[in-house]
């Protein structure tokens, strides 16, 4: 056999013809181009979605602001768009969103950071192998289930400690929301900490620092740009969370900074309107787009803030 193969290939060279199978075919290249265009279109869908979101929110809100002056929208202290005496003060919904997010983040940020430091710097391999998938599962529980939990278990438990706490309140919704956000904060922070090179820890240990000192004074500052990204993700989650608040915080607009009161958030209001039956094109229908636009701007604001923090604290190593 081995003596046949060289002769065969020599024949091809001698003939100076290429076999038909290897010849370049035009159709093959047209097909390649066609596939590339298709793939490009698929990739552009994500851009189309963003453009779609911006266009829809802005056009519908534009209609809304034809009826309601922007100044009233920002300064009015009542939100009663479905009443005869309609008021459109977004502050009312904004206060609910900010208070519940604040409660959630005061649970999620400390606990998430501690868990991240513990898993990255202290935990033995076996605990980490179990804890990481578990946290992922915690983040995968549907938020409506958390809402049920907040309304029917956490609120009654809190009422035991805080007598007179209403059945719907921002506190229990916020606390449960905080637990829900822990996995987002901890997993992104932990990734950032594990990306800190070993040599920095070794340097710290060589100077006689303990594990705790190394974790707090060396690793955490070095990873802070990644950790701040985790916080921003947590804030975005909290601000955009809907079902926990719609179920457990009540849907009653209430301008308050007190977490023990019931209040509607921007997201809960959108759900409330969508549950009803508002005709397409009515002012009530347009309010949810104005509320949605506010929500987007709020998320955008926190993201830009996060981006600035990230650049400010970026450490090169």
């Amino acid at each position: 056999m081995s003596s046949v193969a060289p002769t065969h290939s020599l024949n091809i060279l001698a003939d100076n013809t290429v076999s038909a199978r290897l010849a370049k075919r035009k159709s093959r290249h047209i097909r390649e181009r066609f596939i590339e265009v298709l793939l490009f279109l698929a990739a552009s869908v994500s851009v189309a979605v963003t453009v779609g979101i911006v266009v829809i929110l802005i056009t519908e809100s534009y209609q809304f602001f034809q009826h309601v002056p922007l100044w009233d929208f920002l300064t009015d202290t009542q939100w009663t768009p479905l009443f005869d005496d309609a008021h459109y003060g977004i502050m009312v919904l904004l206060s609910g969103t900010l208070v519940s997010s604040f409660v959630a983040l005061s649970v999620a940020i400390p606990l998430g950071t501690i868990i991240a430091i513990y898993l990255s710097e202290f935990a033995p391999f076996s605990i980490r192998e179990v804890a990481k998938p578990f946290l992922e599962l915690l983040g995968g529980v549907p938020t409506i289930v958390y809402g049920y939990f907040a309304l029917l278990y956490v609120t009654p438990a809190l009422q035991y400690f805080i007598p007179g706490l209403p059945g719907f309140n921002l506190l229990s919704a916020g606390l449960v929301m905080g637990i829900m956000i822990i996995p987002y904060v901890s997993s992104v922070s932990e990734d950032a900490m594990r990306a800190v090179p070993m040599s920095m820890r070794e340097g710290s240990y060589a100077m006689g620092a303990t594990r705790f000192q190394t974790a707090i004074r060396v690793v955490t500052p070095a990873a802070f740009s990644g950790i701040s990204a985790a916080y921003i993700l947590g804030i975005s989650r909290a601000v955009g969370e809907t079902m926990i608040l719609a179920v457990a915080a009540g849907m009653q607009p209430n301008l308050t900074w007190d977490p023990t009161e019931p209040a509607a958030t921007i997201t809960a209001y959108i759900v409330q309107v969508a549950l009803g039956d508002l005709p397409h094109g009515s002012i009530g229908y347009q309010t949810i787009f104005a509320a949605g636009l506010t929500l987007m701007l709020l998320t955008l604001f926190f993201n830009i803030l996060g981006h600035m923090l990230k650049r400010r604290f970026r450490q090169a190593y």
Partner: protein
């Protein structure tokens, strides 16, 4: 420092080492908060809802009488919506990821797409609902249908699928591509015959995680105006007169599991809360087993593949 005796230095070391132990304890406690919350959530729902889980619960329509109510229309709706979501999001997401990893030139268009995918992952889910309400329900005239809901959730999980697929593709060594090119394969042949088959486990992980998220999403589907009380089934897929009748089910009104649970949770009667607990139990078991499957596939993948 020079004035310290050895004993004093030892005491100092012990004092600081104590913080290690204290912090490790705090870390375990913080983890326990998560574990305990989850355990009590699951146990609470099991205690309240487990007795409602019978065959009837899965084969009955929702009803005014809590003890006769079931989740038939909800789980059928969820299944149909998930089919639309998977059929849309998987090809779009995988194709987009293949473009970004294998084809995209390094220019500003690619940069915009990449930044976009990252940012979309941070958009609140209810905003997707608003997009769908304006676009699918009214502009395209799909109405408050299974099609609108499926497409909405597909857009929602698109970034998840794209990111997972890109990671899977990126982990394939360049040698594989070079080998294929050396044998005269075109770019698409290399992708279809080598890159995609080898990244299937990674893609699958991403798709399952995305679908698990989509199953639990409530807000965007409520926003497009899905009804909360549905006591009939959409026409069975592919049962109508061909060709138009085959897709009747796409345009049917529907409800899904999380909306059914929301409906029962927001009623004042305790008997409905038990139904909500049972529905929640089904929902949690569904999403958790999907997530567990994804984690398992990823774990196997990490152990098995040696290039």
């Amino acid at each position: 420092m020079a004035d310290m005796t050895v004993a004093e230095i030892r005491a100092l070391i012990v004092k600081h080492k104590r913080w290690d132990v204290i912090f490790a304890t705090i870390g375990v406690l913080a983890l326990m908060v998560g574990v305990l919350t989850f355990a009590s959530l699951f146990a609470g729902m099991a205690i309240d809802g487990a007795h409602r889980l019978s065959l009837d619960f899965f084969t009955n329509f929702p009803s005014r009488h809590p003890e006769q109510a079931g989740i038939l229309s909800a789980w059928v709706g969820t299944t149909l919506v998930m089919i639309v979501t998977a059929v849309t999001a998987v090809p779009l997401g995988v194709a987009g990821a293949v473009y970004l990893e294998e084809y995209a030139p390094k220019n500003w268009v690619t940069d915009i797409i990449e930044i976009n995918v990252t940012n979309l992952a941070g958009v609140p889910s209810i905003v997707y609902g608003l997009l769908a309400l304006g676009l699918f329900v009214y502009q395209f005239g799909f109405g408050q249908s299974i099609l609108s809901a499926g497409l909405t959730l597909a857009l929602l999980i698109l970034p998840v699928v794209i990111v997972a697929t890109r990671e899977a593709i990126r982990s394939i060594p360049a040698v594989i591509r070079e080998g294929a090119y050396a044998l005269g394969a075109t770019k698409w042949q290399t992708t279809a015959d080598h890159i995609l088959p080898y990244s299937i486990p990674g893609i699958l992980t991403g798709v399952i995680i995305g679908m698990a998220r989509a199953i639990g999403e409530t807000a965007p589907i409520i926003t497009i105006g899905a009804l909360t009380f549905i006591a009939f089934l959409p026409p069975a897929p592919f049962s109508g007169d061909p060709p138009a009748g085959l897709f009747d089910w796409l345009f049917a009104p529907f409800t899904v599991m999380p909306i059914q649970m929301f409906n029962w949770t927001s009623r004042p009667e305790a008997a409905f809360h038990q139904n909500a607990a049972a529905a929640g139990l089904v929902l949690v078991v569904m999403t958790l087993s999907m997530n567990a499957l994804a984690i398992y596939i990823r774990y196997r993948l990490r152990k098995k593949i040696k290039w």
